[in-house]
């Protein structure tokens, strides 16, 4: 019995959400009095792999073959499942990232395992009962889900657990993956990454704006504020529907759900569908000229005022604070 965590790399590097998944998996391994093994697929340098020891991984299985240099959903799932079998790992942890969402269900079927995705806390283990709290109804509720199968898969939501250091001596082993040709059905033609921007699902701070901004030409101040804070930008549904901002920035029930430490909503009234996607943010700031805007009811801090007057002042105040 052991715990296996999949550590997703992007261009040979691990992101904060990976260290968070490792920290979380280590806490589960401690609950179970067992060791934590990590599996990395793709070309990651030894130096970077060793970083995982900081968060509690004691063994790293490294799969470094050309065919799997970039993400192939089916093949990666096969490799992770076979690693779980070889390590006798009955719990597999992944980050609930875009790739994690594609992998976890396939691994679950391979291992006949129950899957809790969008997990927001450590499992509660009571005898043979294994319960995980996960998001449901798009952030409007949580479901306490029991994984009743012998094998269990958990996909952790970003920012739900936090990164926790736990220095452990780490051994790196090459893992010989047996790759089936039929697992290589998808071929990546192109990867486009905006390297100058903070990715929204992982962001700790988010600045979001809505129809109150009146038009896409007014996003300059939103981006300036976000840059000063080191925050990602987001928007409401009407804004992405009108093509003022890309769909990838749309947060809410039919967009993406996020749980940053700080969510600043500017010129967004706070329709129930929007709130669903952001309600698990730790601190919410609402700036709106309508004092009756429903968003104020779920905010921690609010400013009633015109965004076009408040935001430039906020930018000034932030510059002064940083100076």
């Amino acid at each position: 019995m052991s715990v296996l965590v999949y550590v997703e790399q992007a261009e040979g590097k691990f992101k904060k959400s990976v260290f968070e998944a490792v920290s979380y998996a280590k806490a589960i391994a401690d609950q179970q009095s067992t060791n934590l093994t990590a599996i990395s697929i793709g070309n990651v340098a030894e130096e970077e792999l060793k970083e995982l020891g900081k968060y509690g991984a004691s063994k790293i299985l490294n799969v470094s073959v050309d065919q799997l240099k970039t993400f192939v959903n089916q093949a990666y799932a096969s490799v992770i499942a076979s690693a779980a079998e070889k390590e006798s790992a009955d719990i597999v942890v992944l980050s609930n990232s875009f790739s994690g969402k594609g992998l976890a269900p396939r691994i679950a079927v391979k291992l006949k395992a129950g899957l809790a995705d969008g997990a927001v806390g450590l499992p509660k283990i009571d005898g043979s009962k294994f319960e995980v709290k996960k998001t449901a109804f798009s952030g409007k509720a949580f479901a306490i889900t029991e994984l009743t199968s012998a094998n269990k898969i958990i996909a952790l939501n970003p920012n739900a657990f936090g990164v926790k250091e736990n220095h452990t001596d780490v051994v790196i082993e090459n893992f010989a993956a047996d790759i089936k040709q039929s697992d290589l059905g998808t071929v990546i033609k192109d990867i486009v990454r905006a390297t100058d921007k903070i990715s929204l699902p992982d962001a700790e701070l988010v600045v979001s704006a809505g129809r109150g901004l009146k038009g896409p030409e007014n996003w300059g101040m939103i981006e300036e504020l976000a840059n000063l804070l080191g925050a990602a930008t987001a928007c409401s549904k009407p804004v992405s529907d009108a093509d003022w901002r890309p769909h990838s920035e749309h947060v809410g029930q039919t967009g993406i759900s996020i749980s940053p430490n700080l969510y600043i909503a500017i010129g967004i009234s706070g329709a129930i569908q929007h709130l669903a996607g952001v309600s698990s943010s730790k601190v919410i700031v609402v700036i709106n000229k309508d004092p009756e805007a429903p968003f104020f009811k779920v905010a921690d801090y609010g400013i009633v005022g015109d965004a076009f007057e408040v935001i430039p002042k906020l930018i000034e105040a932030l510059k002064a604070h940083k100076a």
């Binding site: 899957l115 509720a141 306490i144 889900t145 486009v192 990838s248 905010a299 009633v304 105040a317």
Partner: protein, 245 residues
């Protein structure tokens, strides 16, 4: 080209979510049900790809007879026929197994789902069906082009996108961008009544998950209002009180 679209019956997006029976059951009183919005995007793209005699679209739902109005809505949007697996959709694993069991010998070129259902937010069914059928799966796509044998899809990744090609059968879960949701017209609504809706029985599969109970997020304290001309006060509070900047 034959496309199968998996649809889920979910509470309308404006639903206030409450629970009954000691928080173990979703309170369905007064709730309006709709086709899961992401599934509607998948269905709309499937219809676009098969329009003008280029193919057929079948929708499949796992659920009880109370789901039939939602399935008829999908037929009104433009699906050619529908299948309902007559069973309570226990969890994604169960649902995926039912869809895979149905699709196994039907020779669908493409199977589409929405990126997730807005009730359990799983995004599990597509990849699970892919695994049960041993075909490629692509999760959370934003674009889909196909000639029936070779397809190009765009997949969302953190801070960007990936463009992939897939040859042969595959399953994908669709997000915004794949298509504009179609609204049923009067002819569609009329014809939906007579389109085939076949009811089939479920296959058995082991239980792997069980929802024990639900919780609602803890309410926040009252909002602290800051005068519009004192933005520095907000920065101060975020720094020293909330400790987020």
């Amino acid at each position: 080209m034959k496309i199968l679209v998996c649809i889920s019956n979910v509470p309308d997006t404006t639903t206030k979510i409450t629970f009954t029976n000691d928080n173990t059951e979703f309170n369905t009183a007064g709730v309006q049900y709709i086709v899961n919005p992401y599934d509607e995007i998948a269905l709309s793209r499937a219809i676009e790809l098969t329009e003008g005699g280029k193919g057929t679209v079948t929708v499949i739902n796992v659920g009880e007879a109370s789901n039939d109005p939602t399935i008829r809505k999908a037929l009104a949007i433009g699906a050619d026929d529908a299948v309902r697996v007559n069973a309570l959709p226990r969890d994604a694993y169960f649902v995926a197994k039912q869809i895979a069991a149905y699709a196994k010998d039907k020779d669908f070129d493409i199977i589409l789902t929405g990126r997730e259902s807005i009730d359990y937010n799983g995004n599990q069914v597509a990849a699970m069906v892919g695994e049960f059928l041993d075909i490629p799966s692509v999760s959370i796509i934003k674009k889909l082009e196909t000639d029936g044998t070779s397809s190009t899809v765009e997949r969302e990744i953190e801070g960007g996108k990936e463009v992939l090609t897939v040859t042969g059968k595959f399953i994908a879960s669709c997000a915004e961008g794949v298509a504009e949701p179609k609204i049923p017209n009067m002819r569609g609504i009329m014809s939906a009544r007579t389109k085939p809706l076949n009811i089939i029985e479920a296959v058995s599969i082991e239980e792997v998950t069980k929802v024990i109970k639900f919780e609602t997020p803890a309410p926040r304290g009252a909002v602290k209002l800051i005068p519009a001309d004192q933005t520095e006060q907000l920065i101060g509070l975020l720094h020293s009180e909330a400790k987020v900047i």
